[in-house]
């Protein structure tokens, strides 16, 4: 290679290095947030926080396929040298795991005070806000609008027209854990086996469940309210019905937020936690396309009609704070089932 080319290559690499340094410098003092909530919704909230407080935020999002579990495990792996300051999880059970491992820094600020006791840790390790609910999404051109019973929707043991996300992650894991707690391990295992033998369409995430049903490839499936609204907004022929487990209880899954023990920017972290738990953020999330359901007191008139209709589902929800042990057992079993 001629000398001139070598110099050009070195100069180009030097220039790139300078660019990297500039970006690095920009993000060096930033509050590090691990966020399992969908980036299309979380971005706006975090940008608003940056605008108001002047505190720069550097976010690591999770992948859709492994919602929340990936970040929870990452925090566990990094426990000796934590990089994350604030963990915005989109569910609760991972947070319970982190609490049990004593990886969360308790904080009870202004936001904590406005959230009902059933959605927060007594010691302030984590606090819930803005919930979703597990729902059955149904294709109305295929099965109408009557709430279906998925166990008897198709003839015999056929489940090939029903969709479910892989239960290793996210809210489907929470769904399985609730059943594990209510039914016991053996019944869940039998139910899981029966559905798989019936040819259930198992996909990577709740969004894929929504797509299968919205496009008519499946007649119904289990997903979350935010995914349902994505299909509805796209004009798809879909209806939703809350999942009701034993005793008619629903499964309402809040977002949760916590400060990581050993966080390097604790004051800024507290500011973000208060911001996320504020009435304003809950209203913003309720008005977003995800239509998340506020947990704290908010003026009803400021909520969209669809969210107002869903608020009772939160009150009727199963208590998720007692599911820590069931989650560990259920997840261990699921991992054994999905091991290659």
């Amino acid at each position: 290679m001629p000398r001139r080319t070598v110099i050009a290559v070195l100069a180009a690499l030097g220039l790139l290095f300078v660019f990297f340094l500039i970006i690095r410098h920009e993000t060096a003092g930033a509050l590090v947030v691990y966020c399992a909530h969908d980036s299309i919704y979380a971005d706006e909230i975090l940008k608003e926080f940056e605008k108001r407080t002047g505190i720069p935020v550097s976010v690591r999002y999770d992948t859709e396929a492994t919602k929340s579990l990936g970040l929870t495990e990452l925090i566990i792996r990094e426990k000796d040298a934590p990089r994350c300051d604030v963990f915005w999880n989109n569910e609760l059970l991972g947070m319970l795991d982190l609490q049990e491992r004593r990886l969360l820094q308790p904080y009870r600020g202004s936001g904590y005070a406005r959230i009902p006791a059933s959605f927060k840790a007594a010691d302030g390790s984590w606090t819930g806000f803005a919930a979703r609910a597990r729902v059955i999404i149904a294709n109305t051109t295929k099965i109408g609008t009557t709430p279906p019973n998925l166990d008897s929707l198709l003839p015999g043991s056929d489940r090939s027209q029903i969709a479910l996300a892989k239960p290793l992650y996210g809210t489907t894991l929470t769904h399985y854990t609730v059943l594990w707690q209510l039914w016991g391990a053996e019944r869940v295992k039998a139910w899981h086996r029966e559905w798989h033998e019936g040819g259930i369409r198992e996909v990577n995430g709740n969004a894929a469940v929504k797509d299968l049903v919205a496009e008519g490839a499946c007649v119904a499936g289990y997903t979350d309210t935010d995914d349902f609204f994505a299909a509805k907004d796209a004009g798809k022929p879909v209806a939703m019905h809350p999942v009701r487990v034993d005793g008619g209880k629903t499964i309402a899954i809040p977002n949760t937020v916590a400060i990581i023990r050993g966080a390097r920017r604790e004051l800024q972290a507290q500011a973000l936690v208060d911001f996320l738990l504020s009435e304003e953020t809950e209203i913003a999330l309720a008005r977003s396309k995800a239509r998340q359901i506020p947990l704290g007191d908010v003026p009803e008139r400021r909520l969209p009609a669809e969210v107002r209709e869903m608020r009772p589902w939160v009150r009727e929800g199963v208590d998720l704070t007692t599911l820590g042990a069931a989650r560990a057992e259920c997840l261990a079993w699921l991992k054994s089932q999905y091991a290659p």
């Binding site: 180009a12 894929a208 496009e215 290659p340």
Partner: protein, 430 residues
């Protein structure tokens, strides 16, 4: 399953490669240029663009239909690799020799196939092996279309929190297959790249129809579908452009890796080519996991959360195509020899600088569109655009997302064209 798929894809690619390479070698002037563009377009079309555009087809198809679509797209996308290798290492049998064998020996179909296989030379084996390795390690298309594959399982296990050592243990069997193929490749004599044979002009229409159809299905149609949807989302995107930083980050990573790969490929002696190419041929997933493991060891942990691991992984991934492209531009020809003797800037640009600039542009594109290694290795605050878009694509098709995808696709192409224009201008002024 991935093994069976990869074997089928390699078989299909090889079936296409020989004839197409000979036809390509017989093209001249503008026809040659267009033939190369049509050949390489599917290879360089980002998997996310294809999988997103055909998402509805894939999701509503029955499992066998999805499998068929996946196999077809993979084969059409990777066949150019085999053609490229066959172009570099053409069969030692001349067309006349083949004709003579057919006329004199009157072989049956099996004998004829065996004759072609034996006479195809190293190009066929190398091409088959490369296509096999790339198809076997595919993750991106399989992931977005919810297909079962070892790569999807291992990626999910890794980001789902399985300890790195356990994940690598899971990958042991596929790794064994990959290393086996690489070892078979390494045991063969290093091939000398041949000068392009002088062939009589070939005016058959069938190869044009094939290349046009493949480009249409793999490249043009996805772009048209996405552009059609994007029109409604462009306004919203321009009012609230959210991907600027991610695109910038991706371009930085891609530029750094492309420059490193091209420099290494140009500087390294040919005898080290296979060694240099080997890590990249393991596939992005395995490579990224190994790099991650390396940077979690105490001596390298200081660089764990820096751009270094990703630049390193991308460079390794680019080395196989960089070495192939180097082989392509270094083929000896009288015209190139004359150009090297001449001080005429235009001639040097056309015969010497332009092929290298093109190669650099292609490598840049390859790295820019990469998703797997970026998802695993990108440090906080440096999210590459296709990692972000891959995640968003799981929410299904929307006008804004289509507009984002289009913007992410078009911006680097414009940047490469601009850089190419500047390079050409500066060369012509010397």
């Amino acid at each position: 399953m991935a093994l069976g798929r990869a074997l089928i894809v390699a078989g299909l690619a090889i079936a296409l490669a020989g004839g197409l390479a000979a036809w390509l070698g017989a093209q001249r002037g503008r026809a040659e240029k267009w033939a190369w563009v049509l050949l390489l377009a599917p290879l360089f079309t980002p998997p996310l663009l294809i999988s997103y555009a055909y998402a509805r087809v894939a999701i509503t198809a029955p499992p066998w239909g999805r499998e068929l679509l996946y196999l077809a797209v993979l084969a059409l996308k990777l066949a150019p690799v085999a053609v490229l290798v066959a172009t570099l290492l053409p069969s030692p049998l001349s067309a006349a020799a083949r004709h003579l064998y057919r006329e004199q020996a009157r072989p049956n179909t099996g004998q004829l196939l065996l004759f072609h296989l034996r006479g195809a030379g190293e190009g066929l084996r190398l091409g088959a092996a490369l296509v096999f390795l790339v198809a076997f390690a595919d993750f991106e298309l399989a992931s977005l279309w919810s297909l079962r594959s070892w790569t999807v399982t291992i990626f999910d296990a890794q980001v789902g929190g399985l300890a790195l050592g356990d994940t690598l243990r899971l990958a042991a069997l596929p790794l064994f297959v990959e290393i086996g193929v690489l070892t078979l490749l390494a045991r063969r004599r290093p091939a000398a790249v041949k000068a392009p044979p002088v062939l009589a002009p070939d005016r058959r229409h069938a190869p044009w129809i094939y290349l046009g159809a493949v480009s249409l299905v793999v490249t043009v149609l996805p772009l048209v579908l996405i552009a059609g949807q994007a029109a409604a989302g462009l306004r919203s995107l321009t009012e609230h452009f959210v991907l600027g930083r991610e695109i910038g980050v991706s371009m930085l990573f891609a530029a750094a890796a492309a420059i490193c790969a091209q420099a290494l490929a140009s500087l390294a002696p040919l005898r080290f080519a296979r060694t240099l190419a080997a890590p990249g041929l393991l596939g992005a997933l395995v490579l990224a996991l190994v790099v991650l493991a390396l940077f979690q060891t105490p001596p390298l942990r200081w660089a764990y959360d820096t751009p270094l691991p990703l630049v390193l992984a991308l460079t390794a991934l680019l080395l196989p195509p960089a070495l192939l492209l180097r082989a392509l531009w270094q083929r000896r020809s009288p015209a190139l020899h004359l150009a090297m003797q001449s001080a005429h800037p235009q001639l040097r640009w056309h015969l010497h600088t332009r092929p290298r600039a093109l190669a650099l542009g292609l490598l840049f594109g390859w790295a820019y569109f990469e998703f797997t290694a970026s998802s695993i290795l990108a440090p906080i605050g440096f999210t590459p655009v296709f990692s972000r878009l891959h995640n968003l694509a799981h929410y299904g098709q929307t006008a804004v997302l289509s507009a984002m995808l289009l913007a992410a696709f078009v911006v680097p192409i414009l940047a490469v064209l601009l850089a190419g224009g500047v390079a050409r201008f500066s060369t012509s002024r010397r």
